[in-house]
Symmetry: C2
Subunit: 187 residues, 2 copies
DNA sequence: AGAGCGATGTGCAAATTTCGCACATCGCTT
DNA sequence: AAGCGATGTGCGAAATTTGCACATCGCTCT
């Protein structure tokens, strides 16, 4: 049950991702890099795409789950942004090898989870209609994803610390405000 | 053929070696630390002792083989000493859990190899009697091991850079001198 | 002195993982 | 049209990992 080989595949993949864009990376290169059989790759992953989403999922998981409470949501964002920064080349290579639609679809699914857990952590939320809650989540989620994609697209130049810290609190304040308004409207 | 599990065992072992002396480390701790079955440990290693020598061999190998020529012998020593320094706690825990005899026996086997490859790299050596060569090797080997054990025993305080660089050139000079004398005596 | 406990090794069969080889397909180059 | 390299798939064999049972040892507690 200890998938060290799988982990090695991931590491080789990330290593290669720091050298070249996703679509220049071949299965053979990966298996050669960590010295395993080609079929062993296919045993663990259906695809290079599957490997990619696995890697991103794992990293997001790792970065996010460190900070579960809403209070440290900012920390979560900052950690994620710093991870992106420290793997700048890799992030960029992924960014440039994936269609905008696909990227946004993916980021949306992440942001969806984040926003949900955030909203659930806010007091007023449980008194707000499900429908309204979903609306609010959807709205801010889009904002979040838009920010992220443009930040990456512009070369991740802006300082994440300040940018996100401001945005984080702004976000939380706005969301609870929106929830309150939703609540009032309901009453 | 890609022993990632074996590597994981080694890593866990080194991690533990930075926390506690060798004889406080148990097989169960190791396998728990890297989340594998206890028998898997025994599949790869006969023993914790076997694991220890494997680890040391591997590290020595890694440190030494980077520099194969005699010219960079000093570099090899310095690299080894720096490795010892950066794993100070681990080295100390090993040092304190192993009998002096055993430690010296082990260091001797390493020094043996080092001295041999060093002597083979020196011009005059091939004209010297095998017996004399072995004598010279034995002599300097003992010096080397004595230095190493006392350096460790005294807490690895002395700066390796200066100490070893001086000792390294002194060693090489002396050895080729000794070989020349051996040669003259023969003629 | 003897029971209880946890760690050590060993043996073995079953389950999982890795490998090697063969094959069909696809896209690209010549 | 043939050649080439990469992709997936389908096995069976080999290697690795696991779970369980057992014997032993040293230690503690009473």
């Amino acid at each position: 049950m200890a998938q060290f080989t799988k982990r090695a595949i991931v590491e080789s993949f990330i290593r290669l991702l720091n050298e070249k864009p996703l679509d220049k990376i071949t299965v053979k290169e990966i298996v050669d890099d960590c010295g395993i059989n080609r079929n062993t790759f296919y045993y663990h992953f259906e695809d290079i795409r599957a490997l990619l989403t696995f890697v991103i999922d794992a990293e997001v998981e790792r970065v996010i789950t460190k900070h579960e409470s809403v209070a440290s949501l900012e920390e979560g964002f900052i950690a994620a942004a710093n991870f992106a920064l420290s793997n700048k080349k890799a992030v960029y290579h992924i960014y440039n090898s994936v269609s905008r639609e696909e990227l946004e679809r993916y980021l949306n699914s992440i942001a969806e989870d984040v926003m949900h857990s955030m909203v659930e952590g806010i007091e007023e939320s449980k008194d707000v209609e499900l429908e309204d809650r979903e609306l609010i989540i959807h709205f801010y989620k889009s904002g979040l994803v838009g920010m992220a994609t443009s930040w990456i697209g512009e070369g991740m130049k802006a300082e994440p610390e300040r940018l996100i810290r401001r945005m984080g609190s702004l976000l939380e304040g706005s969301v609870s405000e929106a929830l309150k308004r939703g609540l009032k409207r309901k009453i």
